[in-house]
Subunit: 403 residues, 2 copies
């Protein structure tokens, strides 16, 4: 067998396979109830409409949908998104302040590539989205964790870390935040705290990378302004949105907004990454937006996910042994379970899978290996019955493992 | 205005915007005849069939086409590709020796990421595909150029460079080759020379990165075996194929084959890049392959491109001033024009665009700034009439500039 070790780059030593991507394979096992992935509910895909739209845009505009597109993204698709941001988010951006990406994960890659050299400091919440940790890791980022509470990343802890970095003569390249129904905890940062965090970013001359995959999927409570809207186009925030949770991950579509100087840098790097995001997929989403059904679709989705979240919380109350607690999110796809400290969720996974239920262990969401007694549960994918039964199995696994 | 300079990574200092991607914008100018892009002929898109297929796969399998897919690529799509490789290329690979990518440019990015640290030596032909140079550059590769003749990369020059590197105690990470109808020259490496080059890769313990975007688009002459087939699965070759030139670039689909240990490393890195390539697009291409129309489609395309190539060569003979020469490729999308040494094709571009004709300057394809008096012409995109008229304009521009 050929030995490749002398040919490999250093990145291979830094990255490991994503716990979630590996766990996704478990979903296919018959009888398994998986709370592991971040998959949208299958019944929410507007398949008939998207199929019809796909046929229409491909046959009527083959020179646009089947040909190469520009790296920046299709102008008509961006125009729809710009209208949407204005209407829903009080955000005004121009075409050159937006880049279409092959969903948010590519946004994370491009942002990392633009800002991070090996050893550079990047601030993340403890815990945070593991796909972000993975992207930052491939660029050798030194990920500095900031404490969170029930309302997301804590401003005091953030200021301490920023001050420490400053004293050490180090620059924080960016602060990565999922402000709404955070992945993995489900918590939302109140507007007041967002203002404080934005002030800190300015004070320490860094930027906020705002990742907002499903902020419109809210079941209760009030929308909080995005960091981008609060910054009013001053260049201190880059925000990533995606169609993966609100329409269909299978289209692989997202968009990033930011200062046009930065977007231009993203465009140049994306040229070398994949030339452009699929014009066929962009045209499908553009036509879907033009028809104006998005709001209704998201309202229905929010209602469904809200019901699933209620069922999961009821089941947790019904089945979980003493000493187990969980978050009760106002939106999104996930909640976070904390178990007694003697329980290691990574080791417990074997017991859970034996009981035909899966989750993601807490440590996957920490840059420092903490979170051992926690787990992330997804409530969007499974059916009502599966959620109840899955939580019952999970409680059983916790009890079995704890013995 | 916010200053971002203290936040940027080193890659921003290395890369510049792609000459081609920028030139693509010129295509839209009314009256412009562009030989610049590498765009397939618009009349060759099987739009009706792809539109119908898109509707069918999206409405009948939404949980596959609209949902997240596995990073490795859809198993049924890969199964079709594996059959195709066996039938057409005498290549036998298994599912875990193949990764679906978002077209070849992403393949180039993933390969670079897997093998290249800043300063690492990579060998390329002089000239070579500029998108590859751009990808390698983002990773800080030291690109070592090897001389080419009318039959591609020269084994003697390759051995000299490999020997020099060895003496300097440096490892060549890979040798990048476009063996069939090379981009930009249109030349094809004969099988005998391929065998020699493969022997050199083995001797110097490096690998060949074979990029084969349109090897089936052959108008005349005999197919030459791929490096991959010649290596018989021994792990010395990684090969990239794409649907961009043979079906539709708008789907952004390609596939990479190689040793399963290396493919596994690619998969882990792709997780952090974009999670997966669009399952919707994969399903469309899979269904197209299942229907068995690909061979006929490529035969028609080859016929059309062959005719376009003939028209371009006739026009070159008819219009070009003395001292201008060109390659006469047996397939593909490009030919290469060399002008007298006093003509700088980059500077001449202004004169050409004033005459409503565009091309890519030769320097874009060299790692060392040579190729000043050369240019790449694409013959697949323009109509028969445009090709004749465009070459007439180009000859006029050369004469005007030469004065």
């Amino acid at each position: 067998m050929k030995d490749f070790s002398h040919l490999l780059s250093q990145v291979n030593g830094r990255v490991t396979a994503s716990a979630i991507r590996e766990l996704l394979k478990v979903i296919g096992v018959p009888g398994m109830i998986s709370f592991a992935g971040g998959l949208p509910s299958p019944e929410m895909f507007p398949a008939e409409e998207l199929g019809e739209i796909a046929q229409k845009v491909i046959t009527s505009s083959p020179n646009k949908t089947l040909q190469y597109g520009c790296t920046e993204g299709a102008a008509d698709f961006k125009a729809e998104l710009i209208k949407l941001l204005k209407k829903d988010e009080d955000i005004e951006v121009s075409q050159d302040e937006m880049l279409i990406v092959s969903a948010s994960q590519q946004g994370l890659d491009i942002v990392s590539k633009t800002f991070v050299d090996p050893g550079d400091a990047v601030i993340v919440a403890k815990p945070t989205y593991l796909g972000a940790l993975q992207a930052f890791e491939t660029y050798g980022a030194d990920m500095i964790g900031v404490e969170s509470d029930g309302f997301g990343i804590m401003a005091e802890s953030l200021e301490e870390r920023l001050e420490e970095l400053k004293k050490a003569g180090r620059q924080c390249k960016f602060i990565y935040i999922v402000p709404d129904f955070q992945n993995p905890t489900g918590t939302t940062i109140p507007e007041e705290r967002r203002v404080k965090i934005l002030e800190l970013a300015k004070k320490y001359d860094t930027i906020i990378l705002e990742d907002s995959p499903y902020r419109k999927v809210r079941f209760k409570g009030e929308h909080q302004k995005t960091f981008y809207a609060l910054d009013k186009g001053a260049g201190n925030v880059i925000t990533m949105f995606t169609f993966s949770k609100t329409l269909a991950p299978g289209l692989r579509l997202g968009y990033v907004i930011g200062d046009k100087e930065i977007i231009r840098k993203f465009v140049i790097l994306k040229q070398a990454l994949d030339l452009c995001t699929s014009p066929a997929c962009q045209s499908i989403a553009a036509e879907y937006l033009k028809r104006g059904n998005m709001d209704k679709h998201i309202a229905e989705m929010s209602k469904l996910y809200g019901k699933k979240r209620d069922i999961m919380i009821s089941a947790l109350r019904k089945y979980m042994p003493k000493g187990v607690s969980w978050t009760e999110p106002e939106g999104g796809l996930f909640l976070w379970v904390v178990m007694p400290e003697n329980i290691d969720s990574e080791k417990m996974l074997k017991t859970a899978i034996k009981n035909n239920v899966a989750y993601v262990m807490g440590t996957a969401f920490y840059p420092d290996g903490s979170g051992k007694n926690a787990m992330r549960l997804n409530f969007s994918y499974s059916s009502f019955e599966e959620i109840d039964e899955g939580i019952r199995r999970l409680a059983k696994a916790i009890t079995e493992y704890g013995k």
